[in-house]
Amino acid sequence: MSLSNPYWHKSFFAFLKLFLSRMGDLASGKLAFSELAVDEVQLFLLGAIGVSCALIGTFLVLKKQTMLANALSHTVLLGIVIAYVLLGLVSSYTFASFPVLLLAALISALLTVFFTQVFTHVMRLQEDASIGLVFSFLFAIGIIFASVLTKNVHIGIEVVMGNVDIVQLADLRLALSLVGFNLLIIALFHRQYTLTVFDKSLARSYGVPVKFFEYLMMFQTAITVIGSFRAVGVLLVLAFLVSPVVIARLFTNKVATLLGLSCLIGLGISVIGVAISRHILSVYQLPLSTSGVVVSLFVVVFIISACIHLNKKYFYQLVKKQKTAKPQAELSNS
């Protein structure tokens, strides 16, 4: 990575211009991957995370299991701690080793789903209480373990919040493989996912293993959350999972379009977020968390979209008025 950041002091549009030209250089071979600037790494990283999360997030939203995904994102902390202990390492910033993360994802997904099922079905607890109880319990244990093992509660906070401003190239590789993984699963199984979410009985009558796909969805969520936590932290990843889908949903009624539009929104807003973050730093000397900027952008875009959606009739009327105004004007002129 270059020591001097070419994006230093760049404002928003200058940033984009520079970025495009550097990408051109990258494509034509003039620029090497190892020479990517921090901002570019951030951009690709957040973009990749945006896409991954949007892909699995679509199905989570359709299945109305987003709060379960919330629970999952909390128990991930415990999963990481356990995976760490099991694999014998107890240090704070080498989380990126792949086997640790994979194991952690598996453990977290299993723990969350297993305990929720035990509470709901064996102990006959109502579902919302099960979810809430499970994740606060497991998260509390995770925090206690993390504090004790690292002798420092602040590390726990870092894990939870993430920090995209200090990521490295290796993280990018992880994020890109995550995108690949998510794309593969969705491409292979989107029909089964849709069936499982929309009409379980039909799925069963076709012989589709409904339970298997429900667990697969949870595992996919867990691994996406874990793959993203270094950059955005486990608490913000939820925003990446849900926001693009919620925005896209205001504009489309087709599952396929929802998938595509969410990915675009996730990607686009991440990119713009990085640019804006740099802009604010350059122009106003205000260092802000880039992932925070991206999430805030999600909120802003959502509010604008909601306004458009609610006033659709108003907009249609506006358009109609324009169309009818023209011929009337002609009539009155003749």
């Binding site: 929309f198 379980k200 009985s201 039909l202 009558s205 009624n253 087709k254 929802l258």
Partner: protein
């Protein structure tokens, strides 16, 4: 009844759920070309019977055979299931056309794409139920009767020989009901057999020609005219069976260790 005539044969079928008997020692056979009513009080196991025939629920004993002696595995593509309306998420972003298209997934296998023939079949099915104009409407905007007709269209597209319908007449308007009955009669005319879980005793004789009356155990089965008698209705719905339900509940409580 010769083997060729029997479309579904149930033999000593018992189904348990949560250690309670839900279906109990059912044995009956249904001939082809019938519109069969499945009636019984609440909790009688009617939906369970459909799901067991479909293979979604596994019985603890007994078996179901189709077209003579064939097991489910050989004929599952010839059976279509129309579930209860409330088992679906009606807010799902999907059009009527796409729902009907789902009926074809079974034929397509795991990874094949949807073909032109499938799309045309879907439109034809929608036309048959009188919903062609609503093809690209979101399902959230459909009325109760339209939702039901949509599911029937989806079943039609599977081109089955047996239809299993769970309470298709619940919560729909008179006009839709008449349309659906007409469709069922057309299907029967074309050699299909239709099982319908039905709740309205007043219309049983009008719509159906064969009946299975059950209340966890089989009360009666056979031709409507000879089977749907006052005595059988009493046996099925009357006070006598209340004790049986009480006993089943009691048995469940003991086996689960719950006290009231």
């Amino acid at each position: 009844m010769s083997d060729k005539q029997t479309v579904v044969e149930v033999d000593q079928l018992s189904v348990s759920y949560d250690k309670t008997s839900v279906l109990w020692d059912l044995s009956f056979a249904v001939p082809r070309n019938k519109i069969v009513a499945i009636v019984g009080p609440n909790g009688a196991g009617k939906s369970t019977l459909l799901k067991t025939i479909l293979g979604i629920i596994k019985p603890i004993s007994g078996k179901v055979s189709f077209f003579g002696n064939n097991p489910l595995s050989k004929v599952f593509k010839k059976i279509a299931y129309v579930p209860q309306k409330d088992s679906i998420d009606w807010d799902f972003p999907i059009t009527a056309f796409e729902v009907v298209l789902m009926g074809r997934y079974n034929h397509l296998g795991r990874f094949k794409r949807v073909r032109q023939a499938d799309k045309e079949a879907a439109m034809q099915a929608l036309e048959l139920v009188g919903m062609k104009e609503l093809a690209h409407r979101q399902i959230a905007q459909l009325s109760g009767g339209q939702q039901q007709k949509l599911f029937i269209a989806r079943a039609l597209v599977q081109d089955p020989d047996i239809f299993l319908m769970d309470e298709p007449f619940t919560g729909i308007d008179m006009h839709s009901e008449k349309t659906i009955v007409h469709i069922l009669q057309e299907l029967r005319h074309n050699g299909k057999t239709i099982f319908v879980v039905h709740h309205d005793l007043n219309t049983v004789e009008k719509y159906f020609d064969w009946i299975v009356m059950l209340n966890i155990c089989l009360i009666a089965h056979g031709d409507i005219k000879t089977t749907f008698t006052h005595e059988n209705i009493q046996k099925c719905f009357g006070k006598r069976s209340v004790l049986f339900e009480e006993a089943s509940k009691l048995s469940k409580e003991h086996l689960e260790g719950i006290i009231k």
